[in-house]
């Protein structure tokens, strides 16, 4: 990308940052689900609620 003035430069970089922020919001939600799932989560649920949860 070639910026001819400061306005164009910031329009580009801020645009990219907004896109990254959107990606980060989706990413952190998925990562949170991944981190909180799995064997540890199942074991804890089983301990707290038994096999019928």
């Amino acid at each position: 990308m070639e910026a001819h003035n400061l306005q164009e430069y910031y329009t580009f970089t801020k645009g990219i940052i907004y896109l990254l922020m959107g990606g980060a919001l989706v990413g952190v939600t998925l990562f949170w689900q991944f981190l909180m799932g799995g064997k540890a989560y199942r074991d804890e649920n089983k301990k707290n609620y038994g096999d019928h949860h």
């Binding site: 970089t13 990219i16 940052i17 990254l20």
Partner: protein, 390 residues
């Protein structure tokens, strides 16, 4: 049944003591050389590179890796996660020794140790970030010492003064968190003064934030790493209470470290986007940056997450080693490798054997003191007179 404290090492002539003793003797000789010959003959420092491995490793890495003290005590006393209580004393001791050795190592760089109080008590440079770092480190080292003293007082049997200090725990923890936030970020802020010297991939106005956030991940990883090492080598000093909580501490800190590393990865990417530095990623320094980001941030983040999900202690411990190495790699990149990147190869800095030797001496000194204290004082076990008194 004997208490863990009564089971000291059997012989003074074991492998650890012999190797550590040899390193300490060589270190003392190098110390004499440094303080009799001056800084020039024993280092590769020059006007282009006045800060070398003693700042890059001993100070920047030392402070970051000592961050386990404030993260653990904040988790336990401020956020109320009492299940981490067993990790507080080892983490505080590691942090206290880490900071004490940072100040000790600084003497090799500065020379003239008797001038140490000058910047704080005689001639303050109140507009300087270095003054702020110095003031914070002095205050935080004092706070860490006071936080550590209950273990010492229990060992000495000084019950009254211990009771007074224990009452100050919450206040000291708050002080510790505030002071750590200040100086961890200020160390990053120091490098914002050199935009033309530090490679654009590492230079960012957000560097204070990077240093602070990465110190949290480093501190938690260091607690896991140091806990695992101690678990292996100092198992005889640990009581049932400590051993019962060990796995829970590792899983809890692993989970938190995964989240912090995830956030750190994104804010570093924001930094590249903010300055539009994408084109540098396809250069040699870009490869170095990608190695740091993918190999030492994204990879341990993923390993931590998988380790926590699958209840895999071994994987979490591996991730903690990679994170610790990653922090060292990052601080080396900022302070040495990507610093003065435009200089010709002949003018680039590489530490002399003496500099490396003194750094190894200081790390060994830390390990020896840690071992000395943990085999005597109630760090990994509760003193019989104060069971459940926390």
């Amino acid at each position: 049944m004997s208490t863990p404290a009564s089971n000291g090492p059997k012989s003074a002539f074991n492998t650890f003591n012999l190797v550590a003793g040899a390193i300490l003797v060589v270190g003392l000789i190098l110390t004499v050389l440094r303080f009799t010959q001056g800084i020039g003959p024993v280092t590769n420092l020059d006007d282009n590179n006045p800060w070398g491995i003693w700042i890059g490793f001993d100070l920047l890495c030392g402070v970051a890796l000592a961050a386990g003290g404030y993260t653990t005590s904040a988790a336990c006393y401020i956020f109320g996660l009492k299940r981490f209580h067993s990790a507080v004393r080892p983490a505080i001791l590691t942090a206290f020794l880490g900071y004490a050795l940072v100040v000790f190592a600084l003497q090799y760089d500065l020379g003239r140790p008797w001038r140490l109080p000058y910047p704080i008590f005689v001639s303050q440079g109140t507009t300087s970030l270095l003054f702020e770092v110095g003031l914070c480190v002095m205050l935080y080292l004092t706070v860490l010492f006071v936080e550590f003293t209950p273990a010492m007082f229990e060992w000495l049997g000084w019950k009254k003064i211990r009771k007074v200090v224990v009452k100050l725990t919450l206040v000291l923890t708050i002080f510790g968190v505030v002071l750590s936030t200040l100086h961890q970020s200020s160390l990053g802020a120091l490098y914002t003064i050199a935009p033309s010297k530090l490679h654009p991939l590492w230079y960012s106005p957000y560097m204070p934030l990077y240093f602070f956030v990465s110190s949290i991940a480093a501190g938690m990883s260091m607690v896991i790493f140091e806990g695992s090492m101690s678990h292996k080598k100092l198992h005889r000093m640990m009581d049932e209470e400590y051993l019962k909580h060990h796995d829970g501490v590792v899983f809890g800190f692993g989970k938190a470290a995964a989240l912090v590393l995830f956030g750190y990865f994104f804010i570093k990417t924001m930094g590249v986007a903010y300055d539009n530095n994408w084109h540098y990623l396809v250069s040699g320094y870009g490869l170095l940056f990608l190695t740091e980001m993918l190999g030492f941030v994204a990879l341990p983040c993923f390993l931590y997450a998988v380790g926590v999900r699958d209840r895999n202690l071994s994987l979490i411990k591996k991730a903690s080693i990679i994170t610790v190495l990653g922090i060292v790699f990052n601080r080396f990149n900022v302070s040495m490798i990507a610093f003065n990147y435009h200089l010709p190869a002949a003018d680039r800095y590489f530490p002399s054997m003496t500099e490396i030797g003194i750094s190894v001496f200081i790390v060994t000194l830390g390990v020896v003191i840690f071992r000395f204290i943990t085999t005597r004082m109630p760090i990994f076990f509760e003193h019989p007179d104060y069971k459940g008194d926390h």
